[in-house]
Symmetry: C2
Subunit: 406 residues, 2 copies
């Protein structure tokens, strides 16, 4: 294990040091932007070969649930931020009490950690959320089932990701069995009305401690089996009014919750009783988010640069678009890894699509694992979506889904 | 000193390892692109705190003129490439004899190392160069002076940069004294006719070992005291015909010299005897180049990604532009470093110009030292130039050259 924490050679004197808790692709992509800003991130990583640790020279190998490990990486850093939401609130409060600058603050972050806390808070500030309830017994679940006419969704309050921790029981028996099992296992639960989705949207903003807020255009996001597989920027065919409402909603949440850094507001789009498009909040993420990866190539300031600027309380960057449409398609490990090495698959993609921007996370193959994404820009939404999907699919399967040969 | 060479944790299994000889900003900016491609560069660095070493996890501290140091960093790498031209040819030939993949090849690279070799070679292939001569004595210099009517420029054949190694003696006495002194010091020399410059241009291309060539639009570059201070892409007001000739010239040179990776062809634009714009080659650089920094923000594939793709023999990337004009302005250390810390100066720039892309190299202040650059995109050439200059100037002096306050 290489433990190079506090490596002064990784930072030029006078530039801010950002400590990032977490070693995944989000931290990795923060590092690329940090480098261009003349900095270099310091990492609390779980392992030296992890996605972000591979590309950093100031690494502390440790455990983000251990306060001493957090203290060590935080010491001397200008700010501590995150590539995930799982650091215990009490540790963050302890760091703050010791004078450490933590962004976002735990009071904001808890809304991205606990789905029930978030919904209660959003309801308080008047933000639209689907009907929901705390579930502490099978009876609670049954009552909610009846109240929403059986369209129910059970969620673990904490620790879910990529659809893990979300269940859609189809009848009361299934619901009861599920809830009984989860409660017995000690999983804190909530229930939410199952929304008749038209599609999912994501409204992303960045907010600095000084209160400046900048919003990217709303994007459409596509989930497959609970995992984000595609984001299309801007959201195709969205009305000016709905786009504006979505952005204003995200701005309001950022302001009311005093979020700092980048925040994604995952939204459900559904038809209201009059058949008009309406929105409700599904989830908050207080960090760069999968639905914002398109910004790396699609606009002037990426979410990773913006997050660093925001947590360092720099003025925020322009989000002017580089092209009419940018599509992000996730690269998820397939059932097995093709024999053709990844480098050759990349060559295959570029031979056919020289404008495809390939972003890989330095991760090895595992079925369903996010190992990278493709950004592709163009003028035509449908064609760009199709092409981005083809590229992502080729990186996984080493063959063109449309039968193209070459 | 952290010596982490051969650190397997810095690379995910299966992805190519690119060894870069040199630790300056060019290697640093290759690293940001390598990261996004799922790789990480291995570095032969002079010091652990150097620009590229700060941001890399696989570093060998050594000397690029020492064959054993070169061997150690090359071992197990898929390709060896460079962020400067100063590696001795005999060492590169030795590495190749040992089976190492070196790109570009020394046979090409020598044309970027020796100004006289380059000019002879270019003349052979019919590329336009100003009249020149080898200078081995004061008499040679005097004869050349007479032949070009006194418009003479003396150049050290090797090792020059940022205008060091270029002299413009104004009369024969000055010339004789200069040449005598330089020859006595053992500096191999050449003379070139001093061209009545209209401006300087740069034509950049990338070529892969397979022979694919991609060219960026020709840019105008501005030199101040021999140092590149600005690049404007595409070159303002250039005729379609001259732009095409410039690009074709760079393509021809890349092909004839079997260049691999990125090459900049620095050009003089001057008026021919009929008063029409004409071009001649000044210099070749076989690596990413200062006049190509605009590509990081101004087009789909940056010169750093393209260089990695080219030396790895991947298909090359699209060079479609992100906006009508992109201006790169260099940030050069001023006479003294202002009291206002760099982070605050960055904030000042962004407050006024939220679209300014700041790229810093992790270097400390030294008068005249290149410590970073600004890229700014826009629609209006003159305004964008003015604004980019203002930003670069503010980063150096912590005050707005146009008197703006705030
Ligand atoms: N109330 C609901 N009605 C309909 N579909 C829902 C509802 N809640 C969740 N879903 C579906 O399940 C997916 C995953 O849910 P959710 O976002 O809560 O899970 P997660 O694991 O926290 O996801 P992520 O990793 O995207 O944050 C959603 O993107 C949506 O497609
Ligand atoms: N023959 C010439 N006629 C007129 N000006 C010249 C001539 N040669 C060089 N110059 C001027 O001097 C500058 C530096 O020259 P040159 O590019 O040869 O030096 P260098 O130190 O190798 O530069 P670089 O770092 O840009 O490669 C040129 O950009 C140009 O402005």
């Amino acid at each position: 294990m290489t433990d190079t924490a506090g490596n002064p050679s990784a930072h030029v004197p006078g530039m801010p040091v950002v400590a990032v808790i977490g070693d995944g692709q989000l931290a990795r992509m923060m590092q690329t932007e940090a480098i261009e800003l003349g900095q270099s991130i310091r990492l609390l990583a779980g392992a030296s070969g992890s996605s972000a640790a591979q590309v950093s020279a100031d690494i502390f190998i440790g455990d983000y649930t251990n306060l001493d490990d957090l203290r060590r990486v935080a010491q001397g850093a200008d700010v501590v931020t995150f590539d995930h939401e799982h650091v215990p609130t009490e540790h963050l409060l302890a760091l703050i009490a010791e004078g450490i600058n933590v962004q976002p603050r735990p009071e904001a972050l808890v809304n991205a950690q606990d789905k029930l806390v978030m919904r209660k808070r959003l309801r308080e500030i008047g933000a639209p959320v689907p009907p929901f309830a705390a579930i502490e017994s099978v009876e609670d679940a049954g009552a909610f089932f009846d109240a929403v006419g059986g369209a129910v969704c059970i969620k673990a309050r904490r620790g879910g990701y990529d659809g893990h921790g979300v269940w859609f029981p189809t009848d009361k028996d299934e619901l009861s069995a599920l809830v009984e099992k989860l409660l017995a296992a000690g999983t804190p639960l909530m229930a939410e009305k199952k929304v008749a989705l038209v599609r999912e949207l994501s409204a992303m903003v960045a907010r600095s401690p000084s209160g400046e807020i900048v919003a990217w255009p709303v994007v459409e996001s596509v989930q497959t089996n609970g995992i984000c597989t595609e984001a299309v920027a801007p959201a195709p065919g969205i009305s000016e009014a709905l786009a504006q409402r979505s952005v204003e909603l995200a701005q309001t949440i950022a302001k009311e919750l005093e979020v700092t850094g980048v925040m994604a507001v995952e939204l459900f789009e559904f038809a209201d009783s009059a058949g008009q498009p309406d929105i409700a909040v599904n989830e908050l993420a207080m960090r760069p988010h999968n639905t914002g990866h398109w910004t790396q190539d699609g606009c002037v300031t990426s979410q990773f640069e913006q997050h660093l600027r925001a947590v360092l309380d720099y003025p925020l960057g322009s989000v002017a678009l580089n092209s009419q449409v940018t599509v992000m398609a996730n690269v998820l490990g397939g059932q097995s890894d093709p024999e053709l090495p990844m480098a050759k698959r990349m060559a295959g993609v570029w031979t056919r699509f020289p404008g495809a921007k390939i972003h890989l996370y330095g991760k090895t193959h595992r079925p369903g694992r996010k190992i990278g994404h493709i950004n592709l820009s163009g003028d035509d939404v449908d064609m760009t979506r199709r092409e981005a999907q083809l590229c992502a699919d080729y990186l996984v399967h080493a063959r063109w889904a449309d039968g193209h040969v070459g």
